[in-house]
């Protein structure tokens, strides 16, 4: 703790995209030898900030300092040359190459005539691996390593320069407890060398275990930095979420109907296991959990896109077999998929044709599609969902994200489903449309629809759900009623903390 000049300092970073202020005056610094947590909900601006740091986005305002030098970062490679390196959540390794080739990819040591200096490559790599204290060597094929060891390779990449700041993005997302211990040792080793570390994670437990300070972002705004030792989980959560949650949550004001959909011990390979729940008419059941917890896979199984390996699905009390989306649609199940552009819409088609696609067979006059019937449906749901488009001939790809999502919702509502599953209802949608869609989901439940909402955003799932199923690692950890749920016990449940056995 001798030199306290920050290794990395951000001052008033602003980044705007058309219609969105993704970052709005973010300022904080990272001291040498410090682990600095960066927290915030999904969409709070963490990844945008990382992209600004990595030179993928240029900030509209503000200044980045590395040490005392003001810098303009133009690419991740240039950031690395200046000593700022990223360890990404998604591994970006070439499976077929060796550890050494991956670590020095793009900067292989060369001899004359452009030949690779293999001896030096392996020696340098083994030297780096030694500091990481791992049990594999430079010539191992990366595809043969475990995920945790692949992450070590990714970290090894960062060490080909002597870094001043290392940024870890959700590094423990796919690690076991034992593997985490190894990772934390590596981080402590970097700390001891005076490297500043930015640690991005949702997991409170880890944050309080290894970080020195915590900076919080909310809706693109910097909400402050606190010393980890002086704060607690509640305070940090409040900084992250901000408003009082009870205000935004809609109370259950209507009677629940019969059970519309029930899953009994549903499993699908190792994607999810032994999942049981009941969904009533007039109810919104929220599924909350981290990415990869198995929520989308459950939806896809119910919609006939995956075959369950065990368990039963009951629709209105009757066991059903759903082996394709065609079956699901016929049985009255609709899915608004997670990825609007790849799964929800044919972007090159017009609004009307997209909306009527699942029922085009039924909208016929003689052998031909009836224009009138189609336009009637489009008009009805355009008005009902307040879709803003110049007309049904408009190509869907030209609409805003919010209006595109409403087209997908309209497409499935017009099928009058018994069960409506909405996966990430507001991903990539501006704040205004977001609350419209939330209100719409509540309204649908009030009209008696049985609705499942899958979301990675806690405020969303708290706001729209009557009950919440918390998932971790393919298992249902706990089911909450809207009375029992708090941010804390929900976060605990989806981090696997309340499951001592796992």
């Amino acid at each position: 703790m001798t030199d306290q000049t920050p290794v990395l300092r951000l001052e008033g970073i602003v980044k705007t995209f058309p219609g969105v202020r993704a970052l709005d005056g973010v300022s904080f610094d990272v001291r040498p030898g410090e682990v600095h947590a960066l927290m915030g909900e999904n969409g709070a601006g963490k990844s945008t900030l990382m992209k600004v740091l990595g030179g993928i986005h240029a900030p509209n305002e503000g200044q980045i300092f590395i040490g005392e030098e003001p810098v303009i970062v133009t690419s991740p490679k240039q950031a690395k040359a200046k000593g700022v390196v990223f360890i990404h959540q998604e591994l970006s390794l070439a499976d077929e190459l060796t550890v050494a080739e991956n670590i020095f990819l793009g900067e292989l040591p060369l001899k004359s005539f452009g030949r690779v200096d293999w001896g030096k490559l392996y020696d340098d790599t083994n030297a780096i691996l030694k500091t990481l204290n791992v049990g594999f060597d430079a010539k191992t094929r990366v595809g043969d390593l475990s995920i945790a060891n692949q992450q070590m390779v990714e970290i090894g990449r960062a060490l080909t320069v002597s870094p001043r700041a290392v940024i870890f993005d959700e590094p423990t997302a796919s690690l076991t407890d034992a593997e985490k211990v190894v990772l934390f040792e590596v981080i402590a080793g970097l700390q001891a060398k005076g490297v500043g570390i930015i640690y991005i994670s949702h997991r409170m437990e880890e944050i309080f275990k290894i970080t020195d300070r915590i900076s919080v972002l909310r809706d693109g705004q910097y909400r402050g930095t606190v010393n980890t030792a002086d704060t607690n989980e509640d305070e940090v959560t409040k900084l992250m979420i901000g408003r009082s949650l009870d205000l935004s949550r809609s109370p259950v004001t209507h009677e629940l109907g019969e059970v519309a959909l029930e899953a009994q011990g549903l499993s699908c390979g190792d994607l999810f296991e032994d999942v049981s729940f009941k969904l009533h008419k007039g109810e919104v059941l929220g599924f909350y959990g981290l990415v990869g917890a198995g929520r989308t896979e459950i939806a896809e199984t119910i919609f006939g896109l995956r075959t369950p390996s065990a368990g039963k699905i009951l629709l209105n009390g009757q066991e059903v077999r759903i082996s394709s989306p065609i079956d699901a649609v016929r049985q009255g199940i609709s899915l608004v998929p997670e990825d609007r552009k790849d799964q929800g819409l044919v972007l090159g088609m017009n609004c009307r044709d997209n909306m009527t696609l699942p029922q085009v067979d039924d909208l016929t006059a003689g052998p031909f599609v009836s224009d009138g019937a189609e336009i009637a449906i489009f008009d009805q749901y355009r008005d009902k969902l307040d879709i803003r488009t110049p007309g049904w001939r408009q190509t869907v790809g030209n609409l805003s994200g919010g209006n595109q999502q409403k087209i997908v919702i309209g497409k499935w509502l017009s099928m009058r489903p018994d069960v409506l599953i909405v996966d990430e209802p507001t991903r990539g949608i501006d704040v205004g449309s977001k609350s419209e869609i939330h209100n719409l989901i509540r309204e649908l439940a009030a009209q008696g629809y049985a609705v499942i909402v899958i979301s990675s955003e806690m405020p969303e799932v708290l706001r729209v759900s009557d009950r919440i199923v918390a998932m971790f690692n393919g298992h249902v950890m706990r089911e909450f009623t809207s009375e029992e749920v708090t941010e804390d016990n929900l976060i605990q449940a989806i981090s696997g903390l309340s499951d001592a056995a796992a």
């Binding site: 919609f303 896109l305 394709s324 989306p325 065609i326 699901a328 649609v329 016929r330 899915l335 998929p337 790849d342 799964q343 929800g344 819409l345 044919v346 972007l347 090159g348 088609m349 044709d353 696609l357 699942p358 085009v360 067979d361 909208l363 016929t364 052998p367 031909f368 599609v369 497409k411």
Partner: protein
């Protein structure tokens, strides 16, 4: 009004084919007065009919997001089979038998590409070769001829006229009209666009993607059978390689018409335009006195130009550093 360079680029990207066509036509017309004479125009349409019929079917395959490179070879097969069977079982039975066999080939391709989800380029390129082998096996490698050329009504399809209009043109027009309705007005047509535009979204909408792709290949095979019938009826005798190379001309016509190779866009009408453009350009090249073989090179150049402009229209400019 001054156009910026960017706007010129955009216009070229969007309407380039049409502009190129107009330039060609004016050039040819100036070079040879006969080019725009009524006889020549009717001749071009008539000689384009066989290619055109095949292009109609391939339009469905391409809009559905796949390719069909087997149509040339398949047309040879249909022609040889119907000529051979003509003398063995008579024309009235030979025609339906040939249609059935050709549809079987289409169904086989449709099964491989649709249900087994194999890459259509590889499947149909392989079928190009395999069907050629099948044709040679059938014929024993010999040319096929109808024995009594003067005494058969079979020549009706390729050689007769109804109210002064050659029958091949009538069949082409009727088929184009029917397939226009199928593609633009029926639920099936809508599904073809959806499957080619975004197959995953189509699946998520409960559309049986495999079945739709399967049917596009059946339609293509049906059109090939019609083309084979016209070809056989016109010449009443044929080599084993009569359709060789036509798969590329067909593809050129479809792309010229503006169907995207990525699937999801195009129309039957546009394909007809594409067929006519190709026909007039090839005819024009002959009329200005160029060797017949030059058209192969020009056809290739047109395909490249069309593909380039297709991509350029998507990104709104002729060239871009990123894909």
């Amino acid at each position: 009004m001054q156009m910026t360079r960017q706007e010129v680029g955009k216009l070229l990207a969007k309407q380039g084919i049409l502009i190129a066509f107009v330039v060609f036509m004016i050039g040819f017309a100036l070079a040879n007065q006969r080019f725009i004479g009524i006889d020549n125009v009717a001749g071009v349409i008539r000689s384009s009919a066989i290619l055109g019929v095949m292009a109609l079917g391939v339009t469905f395959v391409v809009i559905g997001g796949n390719l069909d490179l087997s149509v040339g070879s398949m047309m040879s097969f249909s022609t040889i089979v119907v000529l051979d069977l003509h003398d063995k079982i008579g024309p009235a039975l030979a025609i339906p038998a040939m249609f059935a066999l050709t549809l079987c080939l289409g169904a086989f391709i449709g099964f491989l590409v649709g249900y087994l989800k194999l890459n259509s380029l590889i499947v149909t390129l392989g079928m190009l070769s395999a069907i050629h082998g099948l044709t040679l096996t059938w014929s024993g490698g010999k040319n096929m001829d109808i024995a009594d050329k003067a005494g058969t009504w079979f020549s009706f399809f390729g050689q007769d006229r109804i109210m002064g209009i050659p029958v091949p043109i009538l069949i082409f027009a009727l088929l184009a009209a029917g397939l226009t309705l199928l593609l633009s007005k029926t639920p099936f047509g809508r599904k073809v666009y959806a499957v080619g535009g975004n197959g995953q979204a189509a699946t998520f909408s409960g559309i049986p993607r495999a079945r739709v792709v399967f049917y596009t290949y059946l339609i293509s095979a049906f059109c090939v059978a019609v083309a084979g019938l016209l070809q056989a009826s016109r010449s009443l005798g044929s080599q084993n390689t009569v359709g060789q190379g036509m798969e590329l001309e067909v593809l050129a016509a479809v792309i010229l018409g503006g169907a995207s190779l990525l699937g999801g866009s195009g129309t039957v009408f546009k394909t007809v335009i594409g067929v006519l453009i190709l026909g007039f350009i090839q005819n024009g090249l002959l009329l200005v006195g160029l060797d017949f073989y030059v058209q192969y090179i020009v056809t290739w150049a047109i395909i490249i130009l069309a593909v380039w402009l297709d991509v350029a229209a998507k990104r709104g400019r002729l060239w871009s550093p990123i894909a």
